[in-house]
């Protein structure tokens, strides 16, 4: 790396405004719905009013005859199935045979305005044959009528075992079993999904979309529209929030494209807020059972973990989600023997998928409340039991995850000290409580959505005679700050200011690949690709500058827009002069860089989910104020520490941490995606309850820098991990305050009241349904775990 010492860094490590900030706050940012093209049509989608039904007939003749209606599409116009994962190609842009949830798309209209499009939807006659609906995990397993998909309501069942867990439990001094439930919830981005499509006379299709994954949209459009990818251009527009909710392929993107092709006119679709709730792909409801053996001193001997996921109507990312509910338990605690069994069921609800923390907040909740209960039984405090089991830096977990940098203990120490957790928890005033939890998350999935040997991230850097630097990359900023990361890293390596950098991002015609803004991968992977590209440019510039300054190229430093001799201050030329000299010598100065994560998957089937080039770690202490008369829970203060590796921009990291705390509070205390008579209960911003600024507590954020050896400048992820410890810490704090266990998220006032009235002082599920999991794949353990 060009620079390694923190004190040499000019841009990296500084809290600076991100490049898109002023555009966003002043209204200059152009979101997909802001795009207005000449002769543009407006499209609307007709959606199923039934949770489960066969489509007998769709008659659009009345709609087609209406003045102003330019095209109507039905399922037969888009027969090719697609899905984000190659193993789950089970969606149609418009359903042709069956609908699987209220809100499933059935037909689409393009018209000269939205009023006409709406009226045309009402003129489409659909004849349905209603089928019995399946609205819960239990109903899906009971399978009363026709299954939702031909192969049954069990979408995916997995079982893995690392070491003999039964033996591990038998040899334990103490075992405990807990059953907990985590209700589903949704992302609630401020910006609704929107897409604009244009089909040119040259036979080329352009789609602008508010998407986190333009590359995957590009691939899916090629498949469904039967167009070569070379004739499709996908441009991701700035996302007004994503949180995982815009990382799938959506019907409206395909429909807008097809309508543009059919009409020859540009077409826009902006989803209503209600439709966003149906597009969903949010947090899976998960029922979990965890059984763990402990030695008297609190050390874990073995763990068995079961999860039942309520997947909704389609596959989406569900296979990955299922594995994720079992993958990261071992990344915080050294578990010598581990068994995971997971099953995802289809239900007649909008499909679940990845939401911030993808599949891991639910098991993290289960694990962290389970550990607190065991600590009580063993007479240990919540910190001590975790300390006995902490995963160590530069180790390998029993399921073959490679842990490198690890600031978990430092995070723990920090929040425990700052909140005075141990001193205060036993002496809290009435109704007040403190809770603690820790967690870990990936810095990017080690494998792509589809198997391939190509890089996950690529960056091109081109310098201009005037000293400007163009940076091109497929990454899309979803508010997390990826634009800043890209600009800051290139500015750092080339010694120019952020204002000298021109970014071109997320345009499949212009920019090289980045796989997308998901799995907390962008800083790590784009960052490494950007360093590689910028260093190549720097080397060529250095050679030209060395000739002019009569020195060796490795004697040069790039800083403050100057290229100069490190040991002879004053002997320097400007960056622009350097570019001119280099360009005179060899023509255009441009280079690219790529990043491919190391192959880290363990030697067993299913090992593709979990490995990451690095893991972030978090710890949180939450204080709650409970009203025992009403059951209401308020959170006045949160202490959270996050091992970021290195903060490339500390204020952005703090923003991600605070945003995670906010989202966790909503999930823990109020948000629920629930259904009644087959329909989402309240698909609106008003009635789907999410916290406001008034509910936001004081948050004390600490950043721990463990300087990851493979991260760009040592950086790891911040976008998802900090959400994880907050939810169980709230549950543990409620127990500390009132002595009740709410083993079910969200923790509502009613549940608290019910628990206070129960002899068990608990509200939560009583057990898991009977399900015959496949016999587990017996995976070998890494050598360091043999015999333990």
């Amino acid at each position: 790396m060009a620079k390694t010492q923190a004190d040499e860094l000019a841009v990296v490590g500084k809290s600076l405004p991100k490049p898109d900030a002023m555009g966003k706050v002043s209204g200059q940012a152009r979101f997909a719905d802001d795009l207005m093209l000449p002769r543009m049509l407006f499209a609307r989608i007709l959606r199923s009013p039934l949770p489960h039904a066969r489509i007998r007939q769709v008659d659009a003749s009345r709609a087609r005859a209406m003045p102003g209606v330019q095209a109507v599409l039905t399922g037969e116009d888009l027969p090719i199935k697609y899905g984000i994962l190659p193993v789950s190609q089970d969606e149609e842009a418009l359903c042709s045979e069956k609908v699987r949830y209220v809100g499933d798309p059935v037909a689409a209209v393009a018209a000269t305005d939205e009023w006409i499009a709406d009226a045309a939807l009402e003129a489409i006659d659909v004849s349905f044959e209603a089928l019995p609906s399946v609205m819960s995990i239990d109903e899906a397993l009971a399978q009363p009528g026709e299954p939702i998909h031909p192969r049954g309501n069990v979408h995916k069942a997995v079982a893995l075992e690392f070491g003999d867990t039964e033996e591990g439990l038998r040899s334990a001094d103490h075992t405990r079993e807990d059953v907990v439930f985590f209700e589903g919830n949704t992302h609630l981005p401020m910006e609704q999904h929107a897409a604009v499509a244009q089909y040119g006379q040259d036979g080329k299709l352009t789609v602008w979309s508010s998407t986190q994954t333009p590359h995957y949209v590009h691939r899916a459009l090629g498949k469904v529209l039967e167009l070569p990818m070379s004739r499709i251009r996908v441009i991701a527009t700035p996302n007004g929030g994503g949180f995982g909710g815009k990382s799938d392929i959506f019907a409206h993107e395909i429909v807008a494209a097809k309508l543009a092709m059919v009409t020859g006119r540009p077409v826009k679709i902006t989803l209503t807020r209600e439709e966003v709730f149906y597009a969903h792909r949010g947090r899976h409801p998960v029922l979990m059972k965890v059984r763990t053996g402990f030695r008297r001193d609190g050390r874990i001997t073995a763990m068995q973990f079961q999860s039942f996921l309520d997947g909704g109507g389609y596959g989406s990312y569900g296979v990955a989600s299922t594995y994720y509910t079992g993958a990261l338990q071992t990344a915080t605690y050294a578990i010598p023997r581990y068994r995971f069994e997971g099953v995802r069921l289809f239900t007649n609800k909008p499909p679940c998928g990845p939401k911030r923390g993808h599949g891991t907040p639910q098991p993290r909740f289960a694990l962290e409340v389970h550990l607190d209960k065991v600590a009580d039984e063993l007479g240990l405090d919540p910190v001590a039991i975790r300390r006995r089991n902490l995963v160590q830096p530069n180790s390998q977990t029993v399921n073959w995850l490679r842990i490198t940098s690890c600031g978990l203990e430092a995070c723990m120490d920090r929040v425990v000290a700052d909140s005075r957790f141990l001193e205060r928890r036993t002496a809290m005033p009435s109704g007040r409580g403190l809770g603690f939890a820790v967690s870990s998350y990936l810095s990017g999935a080690g494998t792509a959505i589809y198997w391939n040997d190509m890089p996950h991230s690529e960056v091109q850097v081109k310098v201009d005679r005037g000293g400007g630097v163009s940076v091109l990359c497929g990454a899309i900023d979803i508010g997390q700050g990826s634009d800043h990361i890209l600009a800051a890293i290139v500015a750092e390596v080339l010694g120019v200011s952020l204002q000298d950098i021109q970014l071109t991002t997320a345009d499949t015609d212009l920019t090289p690949i980045d796989l997308g803004s998901y799995s907390s991968r962008v800083t790590f992977m784009v960052g490494n690709a950007a360093i590689a590209a910028a260093q190549r440019v720097r080397q060529r510039l250095a050679e030209a500058a060395a000739r002019m300054l009569h020195c060796e190229s490795d004697e040069l430093s790039f800083r403050g827009g100057q290229v100069g001799r490190r040991d002879h201050p004053g002997e320097a030329i400007s960056f622009a002069q350097t570019v001119q000299a280099a360009e005179a010598g060899e023509g255009l100065i441009s280079a690219s860089g790529s990043y491919t994560p190391p192959k880290l998957a363990g030697p067993y089937k299913g090992s593709g989910v979990g490995p990451s080039p690095a893991y972030s770690f978090s710890a949180a202490v939450v204080e709650v104020e409970c009203d025992p008369r009403t059951g209401e829970v308020r959170v006045p203060e949160v202490w959270i520490a996050h091992d970021i590796g290195r903060a490339i921009n500390p204020v952005l990291v703090e923003g991600q941490v605070e945003g995670s705390v906010y989202m966790a509070l909503g999930e823990a205390l109020m948000e629920e995606q629930t259904f009644r008579i087959g329909v989402h209960k309240f698909p609106s911003m008003l009635e789907y309850k999410s916290p406001t600024t008034l509910e936001m507590p004081v948050v004390h954020t600490s950043l721990v820098e463990s300087l990851d050896p493979e991260g760009p400048f040592g950086a790891k992820e911040a976008g998802q991990g900090p959400l994880l410890p907050v939810i169980p810490a709230i549950a543990n704090a409620v127990y500390n305050a009132l002595g009740v266990r709410i083993d079910e998220i969200p923790i509502t006032p009613e549940k608290v009241l019910r628990a206070l009235a129960q002899p068990s002082r608990r509200v939560g599920p009583k057990g898991v349904p009977r399900f015959a999991f496949p016999s587990p794949i017996q995976a070998a353990r890494p050598p360091e775990w043999e015999g333990k």
Binding site: R47, P49, L50, V102, E114, W115, D118, Q192, T270, T272, E274, D627, P628, R629, T630, G631, M670, I677, G678, V679, H680, K681, F682, P683, S684, L686, E687, K689, P691, T692, T693, L694, E695, T748, P749, E750, L753, R754, L756, A757, Q758, P759
Partner: protein, 343 residues
């Protein structure tokens, strides 16, 4: 996005002209701030081919008087004006509290006190888009023939969700209405009907002109609102109380509950044990426990009706303690059921 249906928008400059415009156009509706009407119209919860705006009428938003001689509030006064008016911070404080608790600052700068008194009763089977309501088979209040929250009921159980309505009852307010056939004045309580659909006695062309608060130099009042969040949300329960004092003892006690039925529910008759007494912890708890009886929450708002029902006495106790100058949160009642009663 959701679009408003095509409609005519009229801007009269006098109350009389507004009333006449409504009388002339069948199906026309009055619009003031529009904060409740516009989103409901976008969801096609009702039809309004013509909207008659009250925003062009001068002198419609005045706030006059003081507690010693009574006050008149123009129906066009914004909720923010009501919440912050200095003369409304003592005897009539409950009204300022109620107005200040409505939704968000932006809404309070648009929404009017007259409009808040007339909030269309809410139900989470009704405040939904046309497509959503089609999916559940529609309900009595719009396009359907059954009440989805009480399927065997012949009537609609949409919930009165106004914060100011129970306060108007508790304060003994009177309203002046002016319609095409002239002006009349009556008790605020008489404005409301116990029905989720035809929820007022007001004619379509009646414009609420003024809210009259009776002289009350020695009154104290309080409004407590139950909702999920500290902002934004409609009430899932409201408790308004007003106590008139003489020689340190309660002379008159009035109260009403909001979001406890299809109209604001008067509970004054259940507060009479306070009259002639200096209320202490014990008496307030007893009275609050008895006063919860008329509340009939159903499962058609946020939170469970199980919890809302149990919270009623707690909220009344807190409002009464507030009006008595006692620490509102230090009461004795709890929503908690005794061991074994919970399911």
């Amino acid at each position: 996005m959701l679009r408003l249906p095509p409609l005519r928008y009229l801007r009269p400059t006098s109350v009389e002209a507004a009333a006449e415009a409504v009388a002339e156009h069948p199906g026309a509706m009055l619009i003031a701030g529009g904060t409740d009407l516009v989103p409901n119209l976008k969801r096609r919860q009702f039809d309004a081919p013509v909207l008659v705006s009250l925003r062009g009428i001068a002198g419609f938003d005045g706030i006059q008087g003081e507690p010693g001689r009574g006050m008149v509030i123009g129906a066009g006064a914004t909720l923010d004006q009501v919440a912050t008016h200095p003369a409304l911070q003592t005897a009539y404080r409950a009204l300022a509290q109620a107005a200040g608790f409505v939704s968000t600052p932006q809404i309070r700068h648009m929404g009017t006190i007259g409009g808040n008194l007339l909030v269309d009763p809410r139900c989470n089977y009704y405040n939904q888009s046309a497509a959503w309501r089609q999916a559940v088979g529609y309900c009595l209040k719009r396009d359907g023939d059954i009440c989805l929250v009480a399927r065997s009921s012949p009537r609609c159980w949409a919930v009165s969700s106004s914060d100011s309505a129970p306060v108007a009852l508790a304060l003994g307010a009177e309203l002046t209405l002016r319609g095409a056939e002239g002006e009349r004045r009556g008790a605020a309580a008489d404005l409301y009907r116990d029905d989720g659909i035809v929820y007022t006695t007001k004619r379509a062309d009646d414009v609420i002109v003024g809210i009259h608060l009776p002289a009350a130099p020695a009154m104290t009042s309080a409004y407590w609102k139950l909702r999920r969040r500290g902002s934004f949300d409609f009430p899932v329960l409201g408790a308004a109380v007003a106590l008139d004092w003489a020689d340190g003892m309660v002379r008159v006690a009035r109260g009403a509950l909001g979001a406890a039925g299809s109209r604001p529910v008067e509970v004054s008759h259940l507060l009479t044990p306070l009259v002639g007494r200096r209320p202490d912890d014990e008496l307030i708890a007893q009275v609050a426990e008895a006063a919860e009886k008329p509340a009939r929450p159903l499962d058609n708002t946020d939170f469970s009706h199980y919890w809302r029902k149990r919270m009623t006495r707690v909220l009344i106790e807190r409002a009464l303690r507030d009006a008595c100058g006692l620490d509102p949160l230090a009461g004795r009642l709890t929503a908690q059921t005794r061991s074994g009663q919970a399911a």
